[in-house]
């Protein structure tokens, strides 16, 4: 069975890129462009891992994480953000990993593998 990843990313091009690249790695990827849809997906599917951006229109990534924690779902979360500086925001500590977006997706892929125990 393929492991399921929920991807939250508001930039259309990046959303597509991550979806394709993670699928290539052998994951089943559900890509959504905002936190509200992400929460709806979480209600119906049991994901193995979540990758989320922080700055998004509507609910931001940190609010999303807070809500997921409230749902008491024990899913590993990776923050994938263009901002270095959010690393210092204490709420991002709740995430299991923090990856600064980069043109190379290696770091993201490695972190996913680690967290999924592959």
């Amino acid at each position: 069975m393929k492991k399921k990843i929920l991807l939250v990313e508001d930039e259309k091009a990046l959303c597509l890129l991550y979806e394709e690249e993670l699928s290539r790695e052998g994951y089943a990827v559900t890509a959504v462009t905002n936190a509200e849809v992400a929460l709806a997906e979480l209600g119906t599917t049991a994901f193995d891992l979540i990758v989320t951006d922080i700055r998004m229109p509507g609910k931001n990534g940190i609010e999303l994480i807070t809500q997921i924690m409230g749902l008491r779902k024990d899913i590993p979360i990776i923050i994938n953000s263009a901002y270095q500086s959010y690393k210092e925001d204490f709420m991002t500590w709740a995430a299991d990993a923090y990856v600064v977006k980069s043109a190379s997706l290696d770091e993201l892929k490695t972190k996913i593998k680690q967290l999924l125990g592959d």
Partner: protein
């Protein structure tokens, strides 16, 4: 019946009591857009000009870190020079601005002499065994020194510099902290310092201290604000640049893989092209809207400039599916603005209007005289409008609600309008639409025949 008076009466009244005169000179200067240095000079001026306290010379020490440093020394170098200076200062009708001008020249001229001699004088500002002059500051007491040569508390180096036997030390305090010290003497006239002189000089010291303190605070605050704004800006720009760069890099990597199908190649190249355009646009906006200095405004006919923007390819593409109408009154006046900035401002207002309006909506441009010297150019849309909390932020750098926005367009607009003596006004109702009005100074077109 009521009578109104100027808060800051600008004239010198020669027969007013000198206490009042002094207070008026100093407090007026604090309302002028002078620099800290100039205002300190005003204080020294007040202490030395005949209509102020009337000391011959005034010397200023400022506290920097934990030391008192000699900064400025105002006064004639000789009896001869004194005669000349005092003649100028007693010219009837001369105001403090003129006196200040005069003294500024004097201070810069005697840089090598009076003020120059001060430069080497540095004292610890809070030391038990401090010598005079620092002694007064350390003890927070006014000190009248007589027979200085035989006073062991006087620093010999200082005595050499000041070269008189009688002088007055006024510590400058702000909220019980030392910020500096002023030293006064009558080196030329040799008149003794009186208790009345001391009282007045003390009062002056109080004002000077508080002035220095508040200016330093203000500077610190400005620095902090600037730093915070820069941090915010750096963060925003990083984000705006990083996203397209990641997309370009990621899709290029895919292209380099051997198994990529033909249709995906095309798609990736299209994405890369679009993202590069986006990068270009970000760089364009940063370059244009953050320009350090704006061009000087000139009078010009706005008609052709507006027409050029309206018929530019970008606006024609953007306006597809909208009703775009423009009505300018005949015989437009000439308006005051930099023409290039003007076109950029109009273009951005139109961009914003289309961005805020769903297809099928209307964008209208109007140009009309408000009165003899004011011309209004307005852009109205029937879009989503602006909520009240957002209204306060519109002109802040980097305020944007758009995914690809930079939030610099309206910041630039405001700067351009400030530079040409114009105004921007915004009216908007959420859900109904917005109206942006630019009000320019204008004049009738010069007839060329």
């Amino acid at each position: 019946m009521i009578e109104t008076y100027n808060i800051l009466s600008p004239d010198f009244e020669r027969d007013a009591p000198r206490e009042l005169m002094l207070l008026s000179i100093i407090s007026q200067s604090f309302f002028q857009p002078f620099s800290l240095e100039d205002n300190l000079l005003v204080i020294l001026t007040a202490l030395t000009s005949g209509s102020g306290v009337g000391f011959n010379r005034a010397m200023l020490f400022l506290k920097q870190g934990d030391r008192l440093k000699g900064e400025m020394w105002l006064g004639p170098r000789s009896a001869e020079e004194a005669g000349l200076i005092w003649e100028v200062l007693s010219t009837p009708g001369i105001g403090y601005v003129e006196i200040l001008e005069h003294n500024r020249a004097l201070v810069s001229k005697n840089q090598e002499t009076l003020s120059g001699r001060l430069k080497g004088l540095v004292y610890a500002a809070d030391e038990e065994g401090a010598l005079i002059p620092a002694y007064a500051a350390c003890r927070k007491e006014i000190l009248l020194v007589r027979e200085a040569a035989s006073e062991p508390l006087v620093d010999r180096r200082f005595l050499n510099v000041i070269g008189v036997d009688e002088f007055l030390c006024i510590p400058l305090l702000a909220r019980d902290d030392i910020v500096g010290e002023i030293i006064l003497d009558n080196a030329i006239t040799r008149t003794p310092i009186t208790p009345a002189d001391i009282k007045l000089a003390g009062l002056c010291g109080l004002m000077a201290g508080n002035y220095i303190y508040s200016t330093t605070l203000h500077r610190k605050l400005l620095d902090m604000e600037k730093m915070a704004a820069m941090g915010e800006m750096a963060m925003f720009v990083t984000h705006q640049l990083r996203n397209p760069i990641v997309a370009v890099g990621g899709f290029t990597d895919q292209l380099l893989k051997p198994d990529i199908p033909e249709d995906k190649k095309r798609r990736n190249l299209t994405i890369i092209r679009d993202e590069v355009r986006r990068l270009e646009n970000i760089i364009y906006q940063m370059g244009h809207f953050l320009k350090v200095s704006l061009k000087e405004p000139v009078y010009f006919d706005p008609g052709p400039a507006i027409a050029a923007v309206l018929s530019s390819p970008e606006i024609l593409t953007k306006s597809e599916g909208y009703v775009l109408n423009a009505k300018l009154e005949p015989c437009l006046p000439e308006i005051l603005c930099d023409p290039t900035s003007f076109s950029e401002v109009i273009r951005n207002l139109l961009d914003n209007a289309f961005d805020a309006t769903p297809a099928g909506g209307t964008v209208s441009v109007r140009g009309y005289r408000k009165n003899r010297s004011g011309f209004v150019l307005s852009v109205r849309d029937t879009g989503r409008g602006i909520t009240n909390p957002d209204k306060d932020q519109l002109f802040r750098p980097f305020f944007t609600t758009k995914e690809n926005g930079m939030g610099l367009g309206l910041t630039f607009t405001k700067r351009v309008m400030d530079t040409c003596g114009g105004k921007v006004e915004v009216q908007s109702r959420a859900g109904k639409g917005s109206l942006f009005k630019l009000i320019f100074l204008c004049r009738e077109k010069e007839l060329t025949t």
